[in-house]
Every structure is written in structure tokens, then in C-alpha cells.
């Protein structure tokens, strides 16, 4: 099964590499990072510019990146269902759940690519045009440049988990709706609606999207010269995200297994 998922994943990656939208997303997040310079400019003035990175990363990744990720992934299956090209895949020795897992992996790869692009853009701009010499408070170095960078990298790795939940959510919507437009609209709309009502209804601790900011908190605290712990928020992030991935993928697999593929 792993071999078939791998081959289907490679098939999906090769297809994605030929699509313009894949690159459009990368360009947009880099532009979002660059536009953060208007609010948090960087300069070679001897002061570290971590504030720029701390500002630009959530904007590019958690706001625009999230929108791009949901849009991209909610079209992954619905486009194929709508056009009938799914038949091209499923007449080959590939099970429907393997096809969905490959789609999910493609979405995670896309999320990782966006994260890498944002990381490269934020740190690249700060290094090229500003200073990154550690966090200094009262003349004393509180965190070295390496400490801050490790905190960012750990955050970037950790954010992959709620992003994977976002991918699973969008793929699930994508299997439920045959039209790409409806899938994208539904996925974005529902995500926004849940984000609006989760605080008044006090269900936010159980919703995976609550934890998209969590991985950056330690890094942001370091930037402010404050120490911070990964726990317990990271534990909640892991629990809600993994539970969400399992539920969303189960629904997606159930839905696709029962779907009539006649167009």
C-alpha cells in the first residue's frame, strides 16, 4: 500500500508542478512578506530586526497562507470529481483511500513549501537589509541569534501539524462537493464561520485553527526578550490537530468510497 501511495503522491506532485496556481501561491506569500516592510521596516542600525520576522510570518503564513492552503486543497478532489479525471487514476491499481492520502500528502507538501518560502523570505530580507545579532535587553544579550533562529525553526516544524489539519479539512470538503467553486467557497466560509463563533461558544480550545498561532509564541516572546515555554499549548495543538486529521480523513474516505464516479 505504501508503494502505491508513494507512486500516486509522485503523480500528484508532478501534476502540481505543472500548474500555475502552485507558483502563484508562493509568489503571493513572498509579496506579503515584502509588504510587511511597510509596517516594520528593517535597517542596518545595529538593532536586531526580529520584530519584522515576528510580524511578517503570521501575516504571510497564518492569514494569506491559510487562505491559499484552503483554496488549493479544497480544489484537489472536487476538480477531479467535476471533470471526471478521477477515473483516469482509479482505473489504475490505486484504492480510493490511497488516492486521498496522496492528495493529503500533496497538500502537506504545499503547506511545507509555503512555510519554507515564508521562512526564506523573512530571514533573507532581514539578513540582507537589517541586523540579526540576538536579542539584547539593557545591554545584555538575552537570546543569541542561534536561540531565536532555533525557536523559529521549531515553530515552523510545529506549525505543520495544524496546517496538516487544515489540509485534511479542505480535502474532506473537496470530496463532499463536486464543484470546485462550491468546495472552495464552502471550505473558506465554514472555516471563517467557525473562527467567528468559536470564542462566544467557548469551543475554541477544541478547534484546530485556534492553534495555528501557537508555534510562533515562543519565537515572538524571544523577540521581546521574554522567556516562554512550549507547553502546555503545544500539547493542545497536537491533540486537537491530530484528532481533527483523523476525523476529517475518515469522513473524506467514507465519502469518496461511496461516491458514484459517473460524471
Amino acid at each position: 500500500m505504501i508503494g502505491r501511495i508513494w507512486h500516486t503522491y509522485c503523480f500528484e506532485v508532478e501534476k502540481a508542478a505543472r500548474r500555475k496556481f502552485t507558483y502563484l501561491g508562493l509568489i503571493l506569500v513572498v509579496l506579503a512578506v515584502a509588504s510587511a516592510l511597510l509596517v516594520r521596516p528593517v535597517a542596518r542600525d545595529g538593532e536586531s530586526d526580529y520584530a519584522f520576522i515576528a510580524y511578517a510570518t503570521p501575516i504571510a503564513l497564518n492569514l494569506l497562507g491559510l487562505l491559499l492552503l484552503v483554496t488549493y486543497c479544497s480544489g484537489l478532489v472536487s476538480t477531479e470529481l467535476g471533470s471526471g479525471s478521477i477515473c483516469l487514476v482509479l482505473v489504475r491499481p490505486v484504492r480510493r483511500h490511497e488516492f486521498l492520502i496522496a492528495k493529503m500528502l500533496l497538500g502537506v507538501t504545499y503547506a511545507a513549501t509555503l512555510t519554507v518560502a515564508v521562512t526564506a523570505a523573512t530571514w533573507g530580507i532581514a539578513l540582507a537589509f537589517g541586523d540579526l545579532t540576538g536579542v539584547v535587553y539593557g545591554g545584555e544579550t538575552v537570546f543569541t541569534g542561534a536561540d531565536v533562529f532555533v525557536a523559529y525553526l521549531l515553530g515552523a516544524l510545529l506549525v505543520m501539524i495544524p496546517q496538516a489539519a487544515v489540509v485534511a479539512y479542505a480535502v474532506m470538503i473537496s470530496t463532499l462537493v463536486r464543484s470546485t467553486g462550491a468546495a472552495i467557497g464552502g471550505a473558506v466560509g465554514l472555516l471563517l464561520a467557525v473562527d467567528i463563533i468559536k470564542y462566544p461558544l467557548r469551543i475554541s480550545p477544541f478547534i484546530f485553527s485556534t492553534y495555528l498561532e501557537t508555534p510562533w509564541r515562543v519565537f515572538t516572546s524571544y523577540c521581546d526578550g521574554l522567556d516562554a515555554s512550549w507547553f502546555p499549548d503545544t500539547a493542545y495543538l497536537l491533540l486537537t490537530s491530530i484528532a481533527s486529521i483523523v476525523v476529517f480523513m475518515a469522513v473524506a474516505i467514507f465519502s469518496l468510497s461511496r461516491r458514484d464516479l459517473r460524471t
Binding site: T8, G84, C87, L88, V89, P93, V94, R262
Partner: protein, 299 residues
């Protein structure tokens, strides 16, 4: 020769609609079987079930002696499927679509051979988004033939093709069956194409198999139906109409289409000659698939 496909009480229900009803069918290895039926008869649903794209509500299907659902992964590489209006990735070239399709099957194949067989070799580097309906249909067949399958499941394979491409496709399919012993299950609305291509014909009506016969037997000459070429068809028709051994007479330009109650052409010929008509020919009529189809549907 054993069965390549065997369905047993195959049934598909969509809510209250029974698309395929208790279908039991056998297709022998190397045979070309045609599925005929009106729109919505259940032909495509049957093919989709056999291709693993639609799950049956009940019953089962065996392909190459293996239960389809359980052994789909081992059956699929030996099966080529052409669905109605095949869809491809429009932003990829025809070659890349086929290459990726072969990769899914983990097979290293030469896509040029498949493209050449369907006359698309020169268009292989064009994006599929620029293809006409007929080209897409031919690419669909190339995709089905890509892994050199021993079973082809084809839903309306000549849909959208021009007469020349239709002729070439039918010739290719017949050649595959004759020379490579490829088993072909094909659905079509084109009765003459089915008659030309298929060894056997099954008629499905309202989801049920109502008839299944060898094509050569169906298309044999019918001794009771004759075309009579003579000098005065109108007058001859009047004289024949009242005779007890004549079932029906229809006047056509320069001839009569006569249906006899029994195989007694000699009696008809003798009657007309005696009556003074100048006969130029008495030709037994070949049965057509349309006759058979309409008779099976009681039309």
C-alpha cells in the same frame, strides 16, 4: 475457452431507481461482446461497475477468475477502460497524461506506441486542453491500450469520432481481438458498429438482460423476407396482399419487400411469373441488428 468476465446477480440501485437489475452475464476470453440498450438502460453503469468505478448494491463480478472487488489491484493492470467522454488533465500534453497514467500502474511503457495506434503520435506534444472531442476520445482509447491489457471495457468508444476515425478504431479493436486475443466488452448506440465489431450482442433494458445472442446468427439471411425486383410493383402488391401465405407486402421504388408466412420463396416466384410479371431478381433479406433490437424490446 474460459470466461474472462462473469457477473452474478449484479445489481445497482440509486435510491428508488434500479439502474442494473440482477445482471448475470458471461464474456469469454478473446470475445468481443456488445452491450446494446436505450439511454438509461444500465449499460454504462454495468461497465463502470466492472471497471471498479461504481460499487454494486448487490451481486458480484469475477474477472480473470478473480472476484473483482477483492482482487481489483491485481486485475486493474490487465484491464483497459475507456469511460464515456474521457477526461484528462488539460494543462498536460497527451504524452504526459499517458506517462503519468502508466506511472500510477508502476509500469514502464512506451507511450508513443499507444499514441501511434490511435493516430495521435503527431499531436502527442500538444496540451490536451486544445484537443477536439474526437481527439480526446482517441486519447481515451490510447490510455486504455497503454498497458497492453488483455481486457478492454469501452463505453461508447466511437462517440464524437468522424467516419474515418470510427472505421480505424473499429478495425483496431477487431485486430486486437483477432490477433492478441484481447477480450472486449463494449457499449454503443451505433447498431451497425456493434454488428461489425462484436461476436455476441447482449441487450439490456431497464437494467435487465433481456437477450444475448451470437451476432453472426442474428445477422443471417431470413428466408421469409425477400426483396422482389419486378416491372410493376404496385399491381403485384395488390395481387399478393390477399394471399394466405403472404404476411405483408411493402411497395418500394422498383421493388417489393415481401414477408412470407413460411419459407416458400419458390411459391412466390411461381405465382408472379404465372401472373405475367417480369422478374429481375428475388433477393433474400439479411436480418439487421435493428430488427433484432426492436424485436427484443417488443417494439
Amino acid at each position: 475457452m474460459g470466461n474472462c468476465i462473469q457477473t452474478s446477480h449484479l445489481t445497482k440501485r440509486y435510491g428508488k431507481v434500479l439502474a442494473v437489475d440482477d445482471l448475470t452475464l458471461e464474456v469469454q476470453t478473446g470475445e468481443v461482446m456488445g452491450l446494446l440498450g436505450l439511454n438509461g438502460a444500465g449499460k454504462s453503469t454495468t461497465l463502470y461497475m466492472l471497471a471498479g468505478l461504481v460499487g454494486p448494491t448487490s451481486g458480484d463480478a469475477t474477472i480473470f477468475g478473480k472476484e473483482l472487488h477483492r482482487h481489483f489491484l491485481s486485475i486493474a493492470p490487465s484491464m483497459g477502460v475507456l469511460v464515456e467522454r474521457p477526461a484528462f488533465y488539460d494543462y498536460l500534453t497527451a504524452r504526459d497524461n499517458l506517462k503519468l497514467s502508466a506511472r500510477l500502474a508502476q509500469r514502464d511503457v512506451t507511450v508513443d506506441r499507444a499514441l501511434d495506434r490511435v493516430g495521435l503520435l503527431s499531436a502527442g506534444r500538444k496540451k490536451v486542453g486544445t484537443f477536439s472531442t474526437g481527439m480526446r476520445q482517441r486519447l481515451g482509447l490510447a490510455q486504455a491500450l497503454l498497458l497492453e491489457p488483455s481486457l478492454l471495457i469501452l463505453d461508447e468508444p466511437t462517440s464524437g469520432l468522424d467516419p474515418e476515425a470510427t472505421h480505424d478504431m473499429l478495425a483496431l479493436l477487431r485486430q486486437l481481438a483477432d490477433e492478441a486475443q484481447v477480450t472486449i466488452l463494449v457499449s454503443s448506440h451505433m447498431l451497425h458498429e456493434v454488428g461489425q465489431l462484436c461476436d455476441r450482442v447482449a441487450i439490456i433494458h431497464e437494467g435487465r438482460l433481456i437477450s444475448c445472442d451470437r451476432t453472426d446468427a442474428l445477422l443471417s439471411y431470413d428466408e421469409r423476407r425477400v426483396e422482389v425486383l419486378l416491372d410493376a410493383p404496385e399491381s403485384a402488391a395488390k395481387r399478393l396482399a390477399g394471399l394466405p401465405w403472404i404476411e405483408s407486402v411493402e411497395i418500394r421504388p422498383g421493388r417489393l419487400d415481401v414477408v412470407l408466412r413460411e419459407d416458400n420463396v419458390h411459391q412466390l416466384t411461381a405465382f408472379l411469373v404465372t401472373a405475367g410479371y417480369r422478374l429481375t431478381g428475388v433477393i433474400p433479406r439479411q436480418r439487421t441488428l435493428q430488427d433484432y433490437f426492436l424485436k427484443a424490446l417488443n417494439r
